[in-house]
């Protein structure tokens, strides 16, 4: 069996001081295989609508927000199962800072939050 690692993608900073966005439409569903940079979700901020491409190649495991729901920057948006041994699967998310470290090798299914920026404490 191929190693897979779960990766949770959080709502990235959309710029211009925006702190939240509304999910307009999911462009992928749980169980879908998705390529890196393939259309993932359509969001709307107070200023504009945007389409977010997938940061990973893998399988969509979970969507963390419904269409019409407001999501805060830094909150979980979608979880992927990414093929490849832990530690190498980050290749798909080049440019995302702060996703260093290793996921557990056994025990519970590995889950962790991926943040583009640290949450405000």
């Amino acid at each position: 069996m191929t190693d897979t690692t779960e990766r949770t993608f959080a709502l990235p900073d959309l710029g211009e001081g925006l702190v939240e966005a509304t999910v307009l439409e999911w462009l992928a569903a749980p169980g879908d295989r998705i390529g890196r940079n393939a259309p993932l979700v359509e969001l709307e901020t107070t200023k504009s609508a945007v389409e977010i491409p997938s940061p990973y190649a893998g399988t969509v495991v979970r969507l963390h927000a419904e269409e019409g729901e407001v999501v805060q920057v830094g909150s979980a948006l979608v979880t992927f199962a990414v093929e490849g041994p832990a530690g190498e699967a980050d290749d798909g998310a080049a440019g995302q800072a702060g996703i260093v470290g290793r996921v557990p090798q056994d025990g519970e299914a590995p889950r962790r939050r991926v943040r583009l920026r640290p949450p405000e404490e």
Binding site: E16, L24, P39, E44, K47, V50, E51
Partner: protein
């Protein structure tokens, strides 16, 4: 990558693929809406992926984004903007394009097709209808205007790089040439808009007079229809088929 076409009014634009390459399908010229720019309107909304395989030309219209921002109203008439587009197409070696406009971009794409019929193969008018978009607005006092257009103007003011004085001049220049359904460009056209788009109200009427189809995206309004998958698929399909309905060929 962004480039700048120099001239009296410099134009910033992005190009994807080779617009001068000979082939069946011409490049697609993307004209953004009022107060926006090519990046916000087309790139961040996922249009390059939706139109994959087509060469793209996406300028910032004068007064917007990284393009020149003249201060006089007369610099912003539809004929001046259409002139910019011809200048850009000439510089890129694109003889003929499919033009896709959103909102004010559609108004000016119409003008381009009307004044320069040889340059446009097909025309997509998205987020656009025959009604006066400036209805009820005092275009000389937009900073405190409470009409729908006035409110849109102030939202546009929060987009980095926008210059509200230049945008107001642009609004007045555009308004100085009220849209008329006649004469219509003699190219196949497609109208597309959110179901709740007030700016595109009565698009069906205009489309009927042009022999064109209208695609409506359920649940969407003027601000959020542009990124909708249904809109992109309709446009992609219309630009791909051999001989679409909508106007003489």
């Amino acid at each position: 990558m962004d480039q700048v076409l120099s001239g009296e009014v410099p134009l910033r634009y992005a190009v994807e693929g080779d617009p001068a390459a000979p082939g069946e399908a011409p490049p697609v010229l993307l004209l953004h809406g009022y107060g926006s720019n090519h990046e916000l309107n087309w790139l961040r909304t996922g249009w390059p992926a939706a139109l994959e395989g087509r060469a793209l030309i996406a300028p910032d219209l004068r007064g917007h984004g990284g393009s020149g921002k003249p201060g006089d109203d007369g610099a912003y008439t539809p004929e001046r903007i259409a002139g910019d587009m011809v200048r850009l197409l000439d510089a890129l070696g694109a003889d003929r394009v499919d033009a896709v406009g959103y909102s004010m971009g559609a108004r000016n794409a119409w003008e381009l097709a009307l004044r320069h019929p040889g340059r446009v193969r097909r025309l997509v008018l998205a987020g656009f209808g025959p009604r006066d978009p400036f209805a009820g607005a005092d275009l000389h006092a937009l900073d405190r205007d409470s009409s729908p257009f006035g409110r849109m103007h102030r939202v546009a003011g929060t987009v980095p790089g926008n210059d509200l004085d230049a945008l107001a001049a642009c609004a007045r220049g555009q308004a100085s040439r009220p849209f008329t359904p006649e004469p219509a460009p003699g190219v196949p056209m497609l109208f597309a808009a959110g179901e709740r788009d007030a700016v595109a109200a009565d698009a069906e009427e205009l489309a009927a007079s042009c022999g064109a189809e209208v695609v409506r995206v359920p649940g969407r309004d003027h601000a959020n229809a542009v990124s909708a998958r249904a809109l992109k698929e309709a446009v992609r399909g219309f630009l791909a088929v051999e001989a679409p309905a909508g106007g003489p060929r």
